[in-house]
């Protein structure tokens, strides 16, 4: 597809690639790889990829790293353009606001997913190569989880960036308190957590019972909830952008 057909996508991708946030995102996405290297140094080649990488993905990547990656990118996609007032260069065009939102969102999740997938794949390939155990099921579960998690979190944080000015702080509190703490330990809140549905899909794809099964939702229901939630967040973002004064 020509860059001229998706100029806002192209602009947003350039913003990410030329900005500082991309380095933070890459660092976060590289955590599983770094932990894998430490594990190899500590344990040697006699390691269980699913136990090490899979458990780390479930305990750290899904509840913390993926939301943070989405938060950093989504908060700057529209929020930064509002705070530095460059958004008006896009708003003063015969370009519908929903199209602006969709192109911004597409750029956010494309960059986020790409970086996360490349670095998680690198961790998987490294550990698999060292232990001679390339766990294809684990790789598939991780890739699907990355796509769903970043898709849903990015939609939520893009909306948040139009509602409040300190979106990074609010997003951090949401990730660390709601997703990583309250939703993990308070059963009723679990159903209001993106993490719960991502973990459910992850566990169901792995299908080895390593993740506590009784508290999970089905894969189908989880995917529907995540996609629906993402869609609702995007529509709310569009409505908010329509009403906003670009002062």
């Amino acid at each position: 597809m020509s860059v001229d057909r998706i100029p806002v996508f192209w602009l947003t991708a350039r913003q990410f690639l030329e900005g500082r946030s991309i380095r933070v995102v890459a660092l976060l996405a590289a955590v599983p790889l770094l932990l894998g290297i430490i594990e190899i140094i500590a344990v040697g080649t006699d390691l269980q990829v699913r136990n090490m990488l899979g458990q780390g993905f479930q305990d750290l990547t899904i509840p913390t790293l993926l939301p943070l990656i989405a938060l950093i990118l989504a908060s700057s996609a529209l929020g930064n353009e509002i705070s530095d007032r460059t958004l008006l260069y896009l708003a003063l065009k015969p370009w519908s606001r929903i199209r602006i939102v969709l192109e911004k969102y597409a750029a956010t999740i494309s960059i986020g997913i790409l970086i996360a997938i490349v670095l998680v794949f690198a961790a998987w390939a490294l550990l698999g190569g060292v232990s001679s155990n390339f766990d294809g099921e684990l790789l598939l579960a991780m890739m699907i989880s990355i796509v769903l998690a970043i898709g849903a979190y990015a939609a939520a944080f893009t909306l948040l960036s139009l509602l409040i000015t300190r979106v990074l702080m609010a997003g951090l509190l949401y990730v660390l308190i709601w997703e990583s703490l309250l939703a993990q330990f308070i059963p009723g809140l679990r159903l209001l957590s993106i993490q719960h549905y991502v973990t459910s899909v992850y566990a169901n794809v792995l299908a080895d019972g390593s993740v506590a099964g009784s508290q999970l939702s089905s894969s189908g229901a989880s995917v529907i909830v995540l996609i629906t939630a993402s869609g609702v967040f995007i529509i709310l973002t569009w409505l908010r952008l329509q009403q906003m004064d670009l002062d």
């Binding site: 100029p7 350039r14 007032r85 008006l88 260069y89 015969p94 004064d245 002062d247």
Partner: protein
């Protein structure tokens, strides 16, 4: 001169005499107000603007930028409607195919080159023959040589000019400019003023916001004066200027013989009052109703009296005081 005697200055409730015909590009504000909480930024403003250059004048904080943003659809009015070519703004993005805007803010995507920024604008305006239009816009603002440099490396004047090029790249019929001469050096100002005049002469609706009266008179035929959120006056620039000139204004003259010069100015009916400036050695503050005549005659008079002039400047030529004259006149 009272409002009733003035032909071209109209009170705010009346539309200007240049109200555009139906087929012409037009921008209309109909009883528009805007408030932020308890603060009223713009209050019940109505006007219609047709082809040509119209200046939106007002002191800082008068509400002119808010007005311009409402005209461009960036901000919605609290009450009233703004229409462009008889279509209500903010209801459809299609309206922007005919609109270009030079915003006041300096920030532009610093990572893009000037060419890339113009390409972004041209593509989003659905332009055909994009490269030719970009080249034309770059030449209009004399930025062709800097087109491949990143905007982050641009000076303030260059950023201002690339914003103008971006606003004009799709050849819009309606152009909004917020303080367009800000940051330009004298030569660039002259070029920008020519450009603004040309845009108006080509039949476009050009609305330029400014707080600098002397700047505006070089390109605008019509003015809308906004004071404290109200439309204080509208009409031809000449009428406003004449009205301003009829008010007594204070001039500071610093010379080596202030008493002698002051006495002669009173005697020759060039000033209605004269007093020595206690803060300036040799300072003389005079009040005159015909400042132009005073400025014309002063050098000759000083030469005749053998008085050496060190400084001559207006003490109340600020836009705020000028607008206060206009505001009083239309009340």
């Amino acid at each position: 001169m009272t409002t009733a005697e003035t032909e071209t200055i109209t009170p705010p409730e009346q539309h200007r005499e240049t109200t555009p015909k139906a087929s012409m590009p037009s921008v209309k504000a109909n009883n528009v107000s805007k408030w932020y909480g308890d603060v009223v930024a713009v209050s019940q403003v109505s006007f219609a603007v047709g082809p040509g250059v119209t200046a939106l004048l007002g002191p800082n904080g008068s509400g002119k930028t808010t007005m311009l943003k409402m005209l461009a659809g960036l901000t919605g009015p609290s009450t009233g409607t703004v229409t462009i070519n008889d279509r209500v703004v903010r209801l459809s993005s299609d309206i922007y195919e005919n609109v270009g805007m030079v915003p006041e803010q300096e920030m532009i995507y610093p990572f893009l080159t000037g060419y890339e920024f113009l390409r972004l604008n041209a593509v989003m305006q659905h332009c055909s023959d994009v490269d030719r239009k970009i080249l034309r816009a770059l030449e209009l603002v004399e930025m062709r040589d800097a087109a491949d440099r990143r905007i982050g490396e641009y000076s303030k004047g260059m950023r201002q000019r690339i914003k103008m090029a971006a606003a004009l790249v799709h050849d819009p019929a309606i152009v909004f400019m917020d303080e367009p001469l800000s940051g330009l050096d004298p030569r660039q100002r002259v070029r920008a003023i020519e450009l603004i005049r040309d845009l108006g002469n080509e039949g476009r609706v050009v609305i330029v916001s400014s707080h600098l009266l002397h700047e505006v008179q070089r390109f605008a035929e019509q003015v809308l004066v906004i004071v404290n959120g109200h439309l204080a006056a509208s009409g031809s620039f000449r009428a406003i200027r004449d009205q301003i000139d009829e008010h007594a204004r204070q001039i500071l003259i610093v010379c080596d013989a202030p008493r002698r010069l002051g006495a002669s100015l009173i005697e020759m009916d060039q000033a209605i009052s004269v007093r020595l400036d206690p803060t300036r050695d040799g300072g003389l503050i005079i009040e005159s109703k015909d400042v132009r005549r005073l400025y014309t005659n002063l050098p000759q008079l000083a030469q005749t009296l053998n008085v050496r002039l060190y400084e001559v400047r207006s003490l109340d030529d600020s836009l705020a005081s000028v607008f206060s004259y206009v505001t009083e006149a239309v009340r």
